[in-house]
């Protein structure tokens, strides 16, 4: 087993603090916050694809389910937002269990198709169940976010909250990466049959991982809904799932830093290239192809290689 990379955790913490100190412009801060949400989602996606070998194109849907469930339960029953988010996360975990039960027996393209289908169904639901979700025009009735009686409002306060949440998740991902569980998932990815012959229950492990990841994604979605103050189905469509896929692959699958690096780059890049907004999807495709061909371990893999070479010289 490897040791926990404290330097990595410290670097992340440093970047988060510096961002708070240096960026005063609210617009830039909001981009960073979006980047943090994306980074958590991409890291979750990475656990599925990079560690376990589950390709799920329905992560956008789980993100949306978390967002909608949190705001709808909070609005209709008057529950405090933090509890509503936890409930949404729990519900999403259960739903992932139900969806995963039949679909996780599939592999590769078939699994991708099945989860893609699930994402589409949820997207249609969000659009059509207007009495609950507000339909295509979105859900407006979102209360202010309160945590333990403290109300959190505005970019600066939200940044502190989201950044601390992000850091907690990063620590969790790092602990996971160095735990036996990560190894177990990698065994499954590498050879299902060999794992089976050593007594690893592949289906159960995959199902639990899938559900847990869906729960985290939904939790993240709930917080996102309160931050954004307005949600509409477009934010959770197939396009978003593909964005997450691109982030994970460009950053590097199978490592904690992968999803974070990918999310940072792919959140920032479109901001600088608003002129070619219409071709965003083409750009993603290009990134995917280039990374898969030239950098199979992603940007974080490239970085590690450079650092490793310097260290050995």
């Amino acid at each position: 087993m490897k040791k926990i990379n404290y330097l990595f955790l410290f670097t992340i913490l440093l970047i988060l603090v510096l961002t708070k100190l240096l960026i005063k412009n609210e617009y830039y801060l909001s981009i960073v916050i979006f980047g943090l949400f994306n980074a958590i989602n991409a890291s979750c996606f990475n656990i599925l694809l990079g560690y376990t070998g589950i390709i799920s194109l329905g992560q956008g849907a789980f993100y949306g389910i978390g967002a909608y469930c949190a705001v709808i339960t909070a609005a209709s029953y008057g529950i405090s937002p933090s509890i509503a988010i936890l409930m949404a996360s729990f519900f999403s975990g259960i739903l992932a269990f139900v969806v995963g039960y039949p679909t996780l027996r599939l592999h590769g393209h078939y699994l991708a198709m099945a989860t893609l289908g699930f994402g589409m169904i949820i997207y249609v639901f969000m659009n059509e169940m207007a009495f609950l979700t507000g339909g295509p025009s979105g859900f407006l009735d979102i209360n202010k976010f309160t945590l333990l009686g403290m109300s959190i409002y505005g970019e600066s306060e939200f940044y502190i909250f989201v950044a601390s949440m992000f850091f907690v998740f990063v620590v969790m991902f790092e602990l996971f990466d160095k735990s036996f569980l990560a190894y177990k998932l990698k065994f499954i990815k590498e050879s299902e049959f060999a794992s089976k012959s050593f007594g690893i229950n592949i289906f159960r492990t995959k199902l639990l991982t899938f559900s847990l990841v869906a729960a985290i994604t939904a939790f993240n979605g709930g917080v996102y809904a309160y931050y954004a103050g307005f949600i509409s189905p477009v934010s959770f469509n197939f396009h978003y799932s593909i964005q997450l896929l691109t982030m994970a692959i460009v950053g590097g699958v199978g490592s904690v830093s992968g999803g974070i690096v990918g999310a940072a780059i792919l959140t920032a890049l479109p901001e600088f290239m608003t002129a070619i907004e219409d071709y965003e999807m083409v750009l993603y495709g290009l990134f995917l192809a280039v990374t898969i061909i030239f950098l199979p371990e992603g940007l974080s893999g490239l970085f590690k290689k450079i650092v490793g070479k310097n260290a050995s010289n």
């Binding site: 190894y183 590498e190 050879s191 050593f198 007594g199 690893i200």
Partner: protein
């Protein structure tokens, strides 16, 4: 040590194995030979619980293990080296070995690691290399080493000769003989009848899901039916004539 009585394995409605009975004594090296599709792999997978086995009893070390999950069987000391090796290609040799011992205590792990490196020095040399970069023979050694890491009492092997050059196959079998000398019980299934019968003590012959012959390997080698069906002896003689 292991007694299988009237074990059957079904794939849906298709019966792959019917009423198999096999017994293996402690310290023995037993082989089971059979042609393609005879049910050799199904027997091992059914035994380990990777595919469900119905009807029948499996007793291992005086414990009834029929129906136990694979994990418990591994803990009790049964371990399978799967067909086609199935090493974890993108992990290094050391990690592969470590995986084999994931159910064991740290102490057992260290002891078994020494044992494996002693038996297969090549694995120690390459412990930082990716398993996928090893040659076929080395991968087979790694697969055996990985199984040994779980400290098994009975080693099950599925076609160790598959896809290997004849000289490497000999190498693998001589390692198995060494293991036997160190007190390990080995049960292997094999299509390559000539080599299996040469090295093992006792053999079973499986045909269409049934055991049709059994006995000491020295007797089996001389059996006319075996000569004809598995060793190709008679055809060769005819050819020469």
């Amino acid at each position: 040590m292991l007694r299988i009585s009237s074990l059957s394995v079904y794939y849906g409605a298709v019966r792959a194995l019917s009423n198999i009975s096999i017994h293996i004594k402690k310290g023995e090296f037993v082989c089971l030979i059979g042609s393609n599709g005879a049910g050799k792999t199904s027997l091992l997978n059914g035994l380990m619980g990777i595919v469900p086995a119905d009807a029948g009893e499996v007793v291992f070390d005086n414990n009834d293990i029929s129906g136990l999950p694979t994990k418990k069987k591994v803990k009790l000391g049964l371990c399978l080296v799967p067909e086609g090796r199935r090493v974890f290609p993108d992990m290094d040799v050391y990690e592969n070995l470590e995986m084999g011992a994931y159910l064991q205590s740290l102490k057992t792990k260290k002891r078994q690691l020494e044992f494996v490196f002693d038996l297969f020095p090549v694995l120690e040399e390459r412990s930082k290399q990716l398993a996928g970069m090893l040659s076929g023979g080395e991968q087979q050694m790694l697969a055996i080493g990985r199984a040994l890491m779980s400290n098994p009492k009975l080693l099950l092997m599925d076609e160790p000769s598959m896809g290997l050059a004849p000289i490497i196959v000999k190498d693998v079998y001589s390692k198995l003989t060494q293991l036997k000398e160190r007190g390990l019980t080995i049960f292997l299934v094999e299509q390559n009848a000539s080599i299996a019968l040469k090295y093992a003590d006792r053999g079973y012959v499986l045909e269409n899901g049934k055991i049709v012959l059994q006995g000491n390997t020295s007797q089996l080698i001389d059996d006319n039916e075996i000569k004809r069906a598995y060793l190709g002896k008679e055809y060769k003689e005819k050819w020469e004539r």
